[in-house]
């Protein structure tokens, strides 16, 4: 194994946290059971690294096998790095009937045509998601495995999720994906976050949405828990209305974990008390950013507790309804 392979393996082992190390290695096909048992996981990581390096040398494992381990780790822990959502547009006639092998072949063929030195690994996960790992090289250098791009796509849906993509390689990946999925073009869905499951749930609407129903209140139990008769809720109806509107705008139960919502303003300045800025022709450029560990949860709480006025302003409810967290607001609208 040459130097670069060693470095890749070392980097990968450093990246995997110690507590997950054993499970990850267990899933890796190139480590037999006896070898796994022979490794003592109570030793510090650098000792384990040495053992593993020696083991890989013995078995003659190459970069290809090591990247498998990396892929296993990323698939198990997708919520790191920055993921961006893309949407495929203009489906052609046979887009809904694409199947896995067809997609795999097409994608590999297209990408290798566009750029000669590229390393592609495609894996189908149990939840029908296709994971693609691409290491980019160019016409003269071998693929760089230290900065791979990961792509997640669910067949028959128009959404693609990407992490680790540089602007140089973006058009190449776009073209390969568009041709392989039989769509016309791909555009930015303006949705990004650290949590892949969150942005996937938001775009594919897999969180619990609330719609108006004929019987909004859940059925009363025959023997309800006795409430303290000395406590009476004033404005109970208002509270319920606000909660209903908050849930309709953002969803019920556990919400997808978004970290940021960014509104880029390109509207004219309108406050009459400030003479220097009002009346200018160019728009007043500003950026409003909402940040939180779980943004949708905070917004829902703002609405249901009365801090934000109801009905929920479309600026906020567009986050869930349009599935975006980057908006450009002009005078004509969002």
């Amino acid at each position: 194994m040459d130097d670069s392979t060693n470095r890749i393996l070392q980097r990968l082992i450093r990246r995997i946290p110690s507590q997950m190390f054993q499970t990850m290695l267990g899933k890796w096909a190139h480590l037999s059971r006896e070898d796994l048992h022979s490794l003592d996981f109570t030793q510090p990581k650098w000792v384990l690294t040495e053992h593993l390096l020696a083991h890989c040398e013995e078995k003659g494992l190459t970069v290809k096998h090591i990247t498998e381990l990396e892929m296993i780790y990323i698939i198990e822990n997708p919520n790191q790095g920055m993921w961006h959502g893309f949407q495929l547009l203009d489906a052609e006639e046979d887009a809904p009937s694409i199947e896995l092998t067809q997609f795999k072949e097409q994608f590999k063929a297209n990408l290798t045509e566009l750029i000669r030195h590229v390393s592609i690994k495609i894996k189908k996960h149990t939840d029908e998601a296709i994971w693609i790992r691409v290491a980019w090289g160019d016409n003269f250098t071998k693929p760089n495995h230290l900065k791979p791009t990961y792509v997640v796509h669910h067949l028959q849906t128009p959404y693609v999720f990407v992490t680790g993509l540089t602007s140089k390689h973006k058009p190449l990946l776009n073209q390969a994906l568009v041709l392989a999925t039989r769509y016309g073009s791909m555009k930015d869905a303006h949705l990004s976050g650290r949590n892949l499951t969150a942005i996937r749930d938001l775009l594919m609407r897999q969180y619990q949405q609330v719609f108006p129903t004929k019987h909004p209140k859940p059925l009363q139990e025959k023997n309800p828990v006795p409430r303290n008769p000395n406590i009476e809720k004033e404005q109970a109806e208002n509270t319920e209305n606000r909660l209903q509107m908050a849930c309709e705008a953002f969803g019920d139960g556990t919400l997808p974990q978004l970290q940021k919502a960014v509104y880029k303003l390109e509207t004219k300045f309108r406050d009459n008390s400030n003479k220097t800025l009002t009346g200018r022709e160019e728009p007043f450029r500003g950026v409003v950013e909402f940040a939180s560990t779980n943004l949708l949860e905070s917004l829902r709480h703002c609405v249901s507790s009365g801090m934000a006025s109801t009905p929920v302003t479309p600026l906020l409810s567009s986050i869930t309804q349009k599935g975006r967290n980057y908006f450009v607001i002009t005078d004509k609208g969002v």
Binding site: K124, Q156, P158, F211, P212, Q321
Partner: protein
């Protein structure tokens, strides 16, 4: 002789003054009684008026309801309200009233139709935002079991527009909206959408039941829309090899496959009469029941 007459509050004083006092008291008592009587009378009058008004109102309502029912039965029977020539007193109300009655009859007819539709497990329509929008709930069911409910919130403007929905992205909603007839015939649009959703729910349920009941059958490949399914069977016998069965559901509005392909290591297997029968069986019966039959005949383990 002393005559003692007891009045509750006054001390009896003899003579004319006393007598005058007594008469004064009696007069004031009488006045009070009169006042009370007249106030009672007023109250009773007011109650009478209220009751009369209520009776008139109820009479008008009864009249409106009977004409509505007549109109509704005409509508139900013929689909078209024909000229009314029976009630003489309705003619003086003019054509506006009859138009209103017609609208009301149609409204009740539509409500009953929606209620019936909801009872048979079709879609349910609810008005939202004070009449500016509707929310349509489409229920899905397979083999008598209710599955997921999907919702569409539609904006009632000059053009109908779907503002919110929870339909999964692999159902071609956009295509149905742009290429379909949502603006002109919403019932047709909803029926088609319901077909797609019910078929998807049916296929998903078949796969779920297969996984639950038939643990010996392995699912090698499936996709989110449940239109491609690759199953691995174990065939009992000496030539026990892996047999792959590929089911393709090209028609997304159906629960049954359009193509069944059987591949095996034992090349003669696929063309044997037993397996030809199995192939036909898989094309005609739902997956989980077909597998039960195949197990009974001993084709698969």
């Amino acid at each position: 002789m002393l005559v003692l007459i007891y009045y509750p509050t006054f001390v009896l004083s003899p003579g004319v003054l006393g007598h005058l006092n007594m008469l004064e008291m009696e007069a004031s008592n009488l006045k009070q009684q009169d006042l009370r009587q007249s106030s009672c009378e007023e109250e009773l009058n007011a109650t009478l008026q209220a009751l009369l008004r209520k009776r008139d109102q109820l009479q008008v309502e009864i009249k409106a309801n009977t004409s509505l029912q007549k109109m509704r039965s005409l509508l139900d029977r013929t689909g078209v309200p024909c000229e009314r020539n029976e009630d003489v007193d309705d003619q003086e109300d003019g054509s506006d009233n009859s138009q209103l009655l017609l609208m009301m009859a149609k409204h009740t007819q539509l409500k009953d139709l929606l209620h019936a539709h909801h009872l048979i497990g079709g879609y349910d329509v609810l008005q939202t935002r004070k009449g500016k929008g509707v929310c349509v709930s489409l229920a899905t069911a397979y083999e008598g079991v209710y599955l997921e409910t999907y919702n569409l919130e539609i904006d009632l403007g000059s053009n109908l527009r779907i503002c919110r929905h929870n339909i999964p992205p692999f159902i071609p909603l956009e295509r149905l909206v742009t290429q379909g007839n949502m603006q002109t015939d919403i019932r047709d649009f909803l029926d088609t959408l319901s077909q797609y959703l019910n078929a998807y729910a049916g296929r998903k349920q078949q796969l779920h039941l297969t996984k639950e009941i038939h643990s010996s059958v392995q699912v090698a490949e499936s996709n989110a829309l449940c239109t491609i399914l690759v199953l691995m069977f174990t065939v009992p016998g000496e030539k026990a090899g892996a047999t792959l069965c590929t089911l393709q559901y090209a028609d997304h509005t159906q629960c049954l496959p359009t193509r069944v392909n059987i591949q095996s290591e034992d090349t003669a297997l696929a063309s044997s009469p037993q397996w030809k029968k199995n192939q036909a069986l898989l094309l005609e019966t739902p997956l989980h029941t077909a597998l039960v039959t195949m197990k009974k005949t001993g084709s698969i383990a």
